[in-house]
Symmetry: C2
């Protein structure tokens, strides 16, 4: 894994990450394709948006259609017709979110399938073999993620298991093109974050993620821990803040040194009819859009804004037509990609602080 | 309206239809976009498939979003971002299908909105003004369509009202680019079909449709009436068989002299996971597709077949993902467009009978 920081502007890093099968520029937002499809879009749509890497979820693909099928069909990229990079999340977070349906043991986790109720047991080794079969480019460790309101003893146990399991993950041989990222835990406690980071860094992995944030804490707390933890991580390796977030979360987290992001919100909100613009969010179903001939965003290069009015897209949503969610998703991911690109360009030109000020002022103006 | 028959092979006609804003070759299948969207596809998808004309429904657009909104936004084409041709059905068939919710009077029809239950009354003149506001290229008459099991007196009344209403429709001035088609009724009774055709032909309209078929009768009955009626219609004008149909219906109806077709089945069946191939239908959810690396159809140029396996598309359907219906729709409309193209090419080369034999043999072979 080759990661180059091309410029720093404050703590913001404009970088480039190259892997055996492709690369991407940072800061980067990775569209989420949990079940080997970014909902409502195809690979050619993602290429047009300029995505170099997308995210999928090993746990979801394990449940359906099953890793054996994907392996037989040549891995997750070939399965979904995508020839750029894929990062697979281990699914640790999703399994631990099952609450009543799972039990964490020292050697792995027991859980019930959300698809058919069947009982499963998964060890860190099992999860690595699963991601090896899927053949993704970046493999996330099988970690333990406590909730924002977890008592300290639970946060400590999650941290300790995460470190122990990461050692076990790292001992499993992956495919030659695959790279394993560790995930720093420790909740909102800086001393625990430091301990987790130090234990993980000792394993000298290709990249590090910050987990256990965006689970219910305030944006202020999230940014404080992200900044603190980012500063502990090796400067020559990419830093990935998992599950974050809304546009201002991402801009502010990139500003404290985060390189990689993912979040379901831009795609999920699109399907519910909420789109992003430089002056804030727009509810496309709102009566104000009824006969509005303007595109969602005047200067946006996305297929929705090049060809359709707000009035038409509102009609699609009101009539329950599939093209409504599709057009809104195309727009929101284009908005995110453009935002990442602008951030990077500003950093390369040493004017990020001004860009951030202008972006935040406009975004919070409400049009 | 300029309609040229370029070649005849038996009764099959290879033709070309030119209107002020565009043209299309015949025989043609018009994808159905009832609510100003061909479900799951955008205009650029339809362009790639080679569609020159699509169908929309004046009645549905009247209910939602309303003709005033579409008119203010520049007409139905501009509203939906489509710069080729649109045929609008009057919605007569849809209104008469409401059964308990409508009442046919001599001067028009009373009905309740399926959107909000509100009461409406629509005359033939109202319907023409509606389609004038929508600005479509081909305007269908406001007709009365009896069911396949309707008693003779009901079929006669529908015929008489259809003629009377067509005279009233023809008296309403449309936009200069718009062309009105009449709709022959008369059920399964040849003498009534002859009477209806003669009354309508007297009005010398740019084109004629055959209505009241594909409403529950057998394919044999449908083809017999289509053939009989087609032979009554002016040879230098396009003939449109409304609501037909499945691939073998279309091939056989084109063979007896029909030029234009529309049907919701290829798009509706796609959304339910049924796709068409040269060897018949395929249920993509079937277990046999579980790990099948082949595309839906080996030699198909559609975006689904160029990039995805049956196994992947099955996964999308099983996971309830939007891309499943979208890919299946892209395929089915490509299958139909290819079938129409092949029929036309065969007719131009005087080998339609052989082509039809080969197509039907393969289609009925079941792979």
């Amino acid at each position: 894994m080759d990661f180059q920081v091309q410029a720093m502007d404050g703590a913001l890093r404009a970088g480039r990450c190259d892997l055996p099968r492709g690369g991407f520029q940072t800061p980067v937002f990775m569209p989420v394709g949990t079940r080997a499809t970014v909902k409502a879009l195809g690979p050619e749509d993602l290429e047009a948006i300029g995505a170099g890497i997308i995210l999928s979820n090993a746990y979801h693909l394990y449940l359906r259609p099953g890793a054996d099928i994907i392996e037989r069909l040549g891995g997750v990229q070939r399965f979904m017709g995508w020839d750029r990079l894929v990062l697979t999340d281990s699914g640790g977070y999703q399994i631990f979110s099952l609450k009543e349906l799972r039990k964490i043991r020292d050697d792995g986790v027991e859980f019930k399938s959300i698809v058919d109720g069947s009982a499963h047991f998964m060890t860190p080794e099992d999860n690595m073999r699963l991601q090896r079969a899927l053949g993704s480019d970046i493999v996330m460790a099988f970690d333990v993620c406590p909730g924002a309101d977890a008592p300290r003893e639970e946060v400590v146990r999650a941290l300790e298991l995460t470190t122990a399991w990461l050692r076990r993950c790292a001992a499993v041989e992956l495919q030659p093109h695959q790279r394993l990222f560790g995930i720093v835990q420790g909740g909102l406690d800086k001393s625990l974050r430091r301990r987790s980071a130090e234990e993980l860094i000792a394993l000298d992995l290709p990249g590090y993620a910050i987990g256990g944030l965006s689970v219910g804490e305030s944006q202020e707390q999230m940014l404080e821990i992200a900044e603190y933890t980012a500063a502990l991580l090796p400067p020559h390796k990419p830093r990935y803040l998992m599950g974050v977030g809304m546009p201002l979360d991402i801009v502010r987290a990139a500003a404290v040194g985060i390189d990689m992001f993912d979040c379901v919100l831009p795609t999920r909100m699109a399907r519910n009819g909420t789109v992003f613009t430089p002056t804030g969010r727009l509810t496309i179903r709102a009566g104000a859009c009824k006969d509005d001939p303007r595109p969602i965003q005047e200067d946006c290069p996305c297929p929705a804004c090049r060809r359709f009015s707000r009035a038409y897209i509102r009609h699609l949503f009101n009539a329950g037509e599939i093209m409504g969610p599709r057009l809104a998703t195309l727009h929101n991911l284009t908005f995110y990609a453009t935002m990442m690109h602008h951030m990077r360009e500003a950093a390369l030109q040493g004017r990020f602080a001004q860009w951030q000020h202008d972006f935040e002022t406009s975004y919070q103006s409400g049009g």
